[in-house]
């Protein structure tokens, strides 16, 4: 069966090794030729607490976590298991099993660790009855003892993987290889023994009646499993970024960590500093001195960056900032995704301020648009921002290795050499005219401190061509117009020289359109495909250019449909607002499908939203999804 897919969920406590186990298993699936997509669910807690990772694998491209799942490996939460009554970690070791049953699809498989979960607890779940109703296949296996016998209890993850492989009739070859790469000698042997024991035991002792087997797939090229944060970090590295400054905040920390671990070995610099104001100010300082630089944060930290962001705009210092969204306002939900910082990111900072904002939707776009962000920032001397979210940050997808095999781009953009500086206008005192009024595209090339003949003053105050502070009305208008002109030039470049950053799907002649942005795109594209398979006629566009806005493309799309639904993960329809503001109309044509409960959209949510829109049903949508009706112009 070609559309047959595995959605495997491993559940346990934070700190139980779920992440590394799932990462390896995902890679093993990828190596066996499948396309994979991983989704990580975790609470804002370091140890214990219910957490899971889901891996979706199929012989075809997968773009979201899918709807529900079909294989649960419930390990039990070892941090919840505390012999002392009322102990700190609570007494919820059953959660990895109990919390995950609602989303398990019909016909699914459950493997739980009977060595860790008490019989009474399991009985209280009515598991037998529910299994019968849903045609679930339940395997209670003492993974804990199996692990203890050969090594240590934490190795029960490995036993779980062995059991999974046996039940799916999967070859152990790739799993073994990966374990050899990842584990030190000392723990490798016992782990391999546990893996084989578990595999053999299940193969020999159990008859399986379920249909679920490992899907078949084949890749033409070698693949790599990357997270959104990996893709952004690698995009930055390939763009010649060699300076990063930051302050930890989830989920931005992922990129910051990856960069910090790699930059010094490549002759670059990473700085963890006192706060986010400093972090962005450092990026400005480094870029001013002639190094490609970036910083970033998540909502609250990004708020602190609005000052240096404005400084970068006024002094025309190129920088790239990341805004990795989580649910807000304020500290909000640190480990939950939301697309609630769009308006804040577009408009934060005082004055008529201009910046470029890209919103990648998946791993490949994260890489591409990071490269574009650096190119635009340095060519046009303008801050560019990449807005993404906790979902894209943490999810993994496979991409062909060849996709990343690109030339590095160390160009500093519109920067002058000393020879070029000699021929350009200077003040009597020798100051170089850094901020000329009349230049093509609004871009006035810059010099760097330390260059001969390039001396100038950069200032966050309004200034003359030589950089002197000035409140002269004519100069003000010239400078403001020139800075804003860059946005138009950038729009033209994006339209003419780059493939569109927008993603289109579905039936071109469809009368119903779905519009989305950022990480909600995967679920929308799958839903669109599904709706068209069901005989509906729907098309979709995923928008990545937030500023400057792709006016022509969106106008064309909206003009071509009777009605469009804007799908986004926030409660106030921020992106729909942006479309209406930028295009100045279409209020009556656009409805919204909103989700803001901390969980990303799944394709079924979007399908349901479509049905409610089209059928005009009175029913309330499930999954805490909200329909926002169309507004008058």
């Amino acid at each position: 069966m070609s559309d047959h897919e595995l959605i495997w969920r491993i559940a346990g406590g934070s700190g139980d090794g779920i992440d590394s186990t799932s990462q390896n298993f995902a890679k093993a699936l990828m190596r066996s030729g499948l396309d994979v997509f991983t989704h990580r669910h975790y609470p804002s807690r370091i140890r214990g607490g219910h957490t899971y990772v889901e891996i979706r694998a199929a012989g075809h491209k997968v773009q979201s976590r899918g709807d529900g799942y079909n294989f649960l490996l419930a390990l039990g939460d070892s941090f919840a298991r505390n012999p002392k009554e009322g102990a700190y970690y609570g007494n919820e070791e059953i959660k990895p099993l109990s919390e995950n049953l609602d989303e398990l699809n019909e016909g699914g498989i459950i493997v739980y660790d009977s060595g860790l979960l008490s019989e009474d607890d399991v009985e209280s779940l009515n598991l037998e009855e529910r299994a019968e109703e849903n045609d679930w296949h339940v395997f209670d296996i003492d993974l804990r003892s199996m692990a203890k016998e050969h090594g240590r209890e934490v190795m029960r993850n490995t036993a779980g993987v062995g059991v999974t492989a046996a039940l799916l009739e999967m070859d152990l070859e790739h799993i073994e290889d990966l374990m050899r790469d990842a584990m030190p000698e000392k723990i490798l042997e016992p782990n391999l023994e546990i893996l084989h024991d578990a595999y053999d035991m299940v193969t020999e002792e159990y008859d399986f009646e379920h249909d679920l087997r490992i899907p078949e797939g084949d890749h033409e090229d070698e693949q790599a499993l990357l997270s959104g944060s990996n893709a952004i970090a690698y995009g930055a590295i390939d763009s010649g970024c060699r300076f990063i400054a930051g302050y930890p905040m989830t989920p931005w920390t992922d990129v910051f960590t990856i960069m910090s671990q790699n930059l010094p070995d490549m002759g670059g610099i990473s700085e963890q500093v006192e706060d986010e104001i400093a972090a962005a100010a450092l990026a400005v300082g480094a870029s001013h001195a002639g190094v490609k630089a970036m910083s970033g944060s998540s909502g609250g930290g990004f708020a602190l960056m609005s000052e240096p962001l404005g400084l970068a705009e006024m002094t025309e210092t190129p920088i790239v900032l990341l805004e990795s969204m989580r649910a807000g306002p304020s500290t909000g939900m640190p480990t939950k995704p939301e697309q609630g910082d769009l308006e804040f990111t577009l408009y934060t900072s005082q004055g008529d301020s201009a910046r470029v904002v890209f919103a990648p939707a998946n791993i490949e776009e994260a890489y591409e648009q990071t490269r574009l962000a650096f190119h635009i920032a340095y060519e046009y001397q303008i801050p560019t921002i990449i807005i993404y979210d906790q979902k894209l940050s943490g999810e993994n997808e496979n991409v062909p290795v060849s996709f990343l095999d690109r030339e590095p781009d160390p160009s500093l953009g519109s920067t002058l050499t000393e020879d070029e500086l000699e021929d350009l206008p200077h003040d009597e005192s020798g100051k170089f005219h850094r901020f000329q009024h009349d230049v093509e595209n609004g871009v006035s090339p810059r010099s760097l401190p330390g260059q001969k003949g390039g001396r100038f003053l950069a200032t966050g105050n309004e200034h003359t061509p030589a950089g002197h502070i000035s409140e002269d009305p004519d100069n003000r208008v010239f400078q403001m117009d020139r800075r804003l002109e860059k946005l138009e030039a950038i729009r033209t470049e994006l339209d003419e020289e780059h493939d569109s950053n927008q993603t289109y799907a579905g039936d071109e002649s469809a009368d119903f359109g779905i519009i989305t942005w950022g990480s909600a795109q995967g679920a929308v594209l799958e839903a669109t495909e599904r709706l068209n398979d069901q005989g509906h006629s729907v098309k979709a566009v995923g928008v990545s250019d937030m500023m400057p806005f792709p006016e022509a493309e969106l106008t064309e799309f909206i003009e071509s449909v009777d009605q469009a639904m804007v799908v986004e993960m926030n409660a106030t329809a921020q992106f729909r607002g942006l479309i209406q503001k930028e295009l100045g109309r279409y209020g009556e044509k656009l409805t919204s499908l909103l989700k803001y409960n901390g969980n990303p959209f799944e394709p079924a949510d979007v399908v349901e939203g479509y049905e409610l829109n089209v059928d005009g049903s009175d029913a309330e949508p499930d999954a805490q999804v909200r329909i926002e009706p169309a507004a008058g112009d």
């Binding site: 070698e222 400093a278 450092l282 300082g285 404005g310 001396r455 502070i469």
Partner: protein, 310 residues
Amino acid sequence: MSAFNAIGDEREIDRDEFTPGLEPQPTWCPGCGDFGVLKALKQALPEVGLTPEEVLTVTGIGCSGKLNSYLDTYGFHTIHGRSLPVARAAKLANDGLTVVAAGGDGDGYGIGGNHFMHTARENHDMTYIVFNNEVFGLTKGQTSPTSPKGHTSKTTPHGNAKSPIRPLSLALTSGATYIARTAAVNPNQAKEIIKEAIEHDGFAHIDFLTQCPTWNKDARQYVPYVDVQESDDYDFDIHDRKEAQEMMFETENALYEGTVLTGRYFVDERPSYQQQKKELGEMPEEPLAERYFDDDAEWERSYDLLERHK
């Protein structure tokens, strides 16, 4: 050939080179102490052999922040309180530059206090001049972190309930490795101290007393001042943290009691941040910015990092 040929220029420099032409004229009030800092810097820079183009001055916002508008070096007039993070990154990015940061007492000890503490702690190789006039000048005379207790202004009509900050002590406990106080009324000492600070390899903090005749009319004009190195009344070891600390404490008290003590207070040879980062392999030996102009530079690619993801 280097892309930054100004760096390392060995010419004899005339201090007029640091003075812009007619434009712009300083907007400072007559008698403002800020003129003293400008003058001392213009003298000090050529005397330590620097050309205008190998120096980057980074300032905050305030009357003090205008310093580099009237001084012909490469300049970056940043935002209120943020000169230090911009300055230290520029130094990290291009280690060849001489970086001088400057700002007011509100700018440096108030809004930028956190950056001050951390830049000193990290011991970045740069000079930091704080124009200490005990008031907010540019916003018209409000009480500042160095205003004396009881100081009245429009924002503290009943007198300031707060005790002033102790900038020298703060610099010492934070980790600065060169600490001095000088005054605009003492241009010769100021010049010598600035020269030492620039030549010092590490974070050099100068608390620079600058009178503000406009808003601090009853401020002592920092005269007469005493140079602690010249006077026989004060004897302490400038390399001894404890003795320096006691001397700073005394100096900070004395200011508010009407005695202006100035001079060098502490010098330490702790390696600079840049040096330590280089030793740890966290910073390249050659100025990072040069790399972008080096046609032979090998730019590593993320492609080379993919092994662990396959």
